[in-house]
Symmetry: C2
Subunit: 150 residues, 2 copies
DNA sequence: TAGCACTACTTAAAATTTCAACAACTATCG
DNA sequence: CGATAGTTGTTGAAATTTTAAGTAGTGCTA
């Protein structure tokens, strides 16, 4: 249980530190950055709102707010989905891609400096394995509990 | 870098899940719970606002808000610090201690179920070591940067 | 022992996030 | 078809969190 508390505290400090660094040298928030990364990797550089919310672990309304803000700043655009007219897609703009490219090197350096440099190879491998497995399980749990009898 | 993203996503899901469980079976938020734990372990079951904010990784004003809310609900009290009259202490109340005792078993079970059950002993040891070290380093970095030339 | 810089915390206003409806569309069933 | 239920996502209000600006008290120093 001591480990559990160390995990919470260190994670909190880490996220705070990374967000501060990122904001200072690119003007992007952590959330902005992650949206840009996910869109840049998606086919057509576009994703449905629901899909994006799920990957970011954001509530739908939080994502709506996040995307409107990024849209005002020209980082993304919105298009309604041709196949399913209830749906909306967030689309990466040229300005968004540029912002990501400018922010990435500094952010990666910051991740390396605050986190990776502290870890040896075995630790990195363990963390990667553990959190990948945990993520899968938590996703599965959630799917099960929403599909079930609620 | 894949590990890094798995870590963020899984942590987010984990915290969300634990908060939901905790809220559902005790009415406490994650923040409430942590305040109660820290106070219950402190000598005299009381802590200075600054000390508490630091351990929770909360901004000062966020802690002021958090404590006022807990005070309205009778979970903590406030006393001004005799030694330093700028200071204030948050003090655990009997009701606060009771709330913690009622919430703890369920919360621990939830941590076990969502996190610990997924890990073997070596992994737990690694995570504990890694995050303890990381927390120390991030604390040290922050102290260094605030003491320095600003 | 008055002045000045700093510390500890609070407050008010702005930004963000959640929560509880809602609107629009799709899919299924009779 | 036409009603009904379920999806997708948005909106408005309330709750929370941040940011910037206080307020009060401490402590050094001259």
């Amino acid at each position: 249980m001591a480990g559990w508390r160390a995990y919470i505290e260190a994670s909190q400090r880490l996220f705070t530190q990374l967000e501060d660094d990122l904001r200072a040298d690119s003007g992007l928030s952590f959330a902005d950055y992650h949206v840009l990364v996910l869109l840049s990797e998606a086919p057509g550089q576009r994703l449905r709102m629901g899909e994006l919310a799920d990957r970011l672990v954001f509530s739908p309304s939080r994502l709506t707010y996040q995307i409107s803000s990024m849209r005002r700043r020209g980082l993304v655009a919105r298009e309604s989905c041709p196949a399913d007219r209830r749906g909306n897609e967030a689309v990466l703009t040229a300005a968004g891609l540029l912002a990501l490219r400018e922010a990435a090197p500094g952010h990666l350096a910051s991740v390396r400096r605050h986190l990776m440099d502290d870890l040896d190879d075995v630790e990195v491998a363990t963390l990667t394995r553990v959190f990948a497995r945990l993520g899968r399980r938590l996703r599965a749990d959630r799917d099960a509990s929403s599909t079930h009898s609620d």
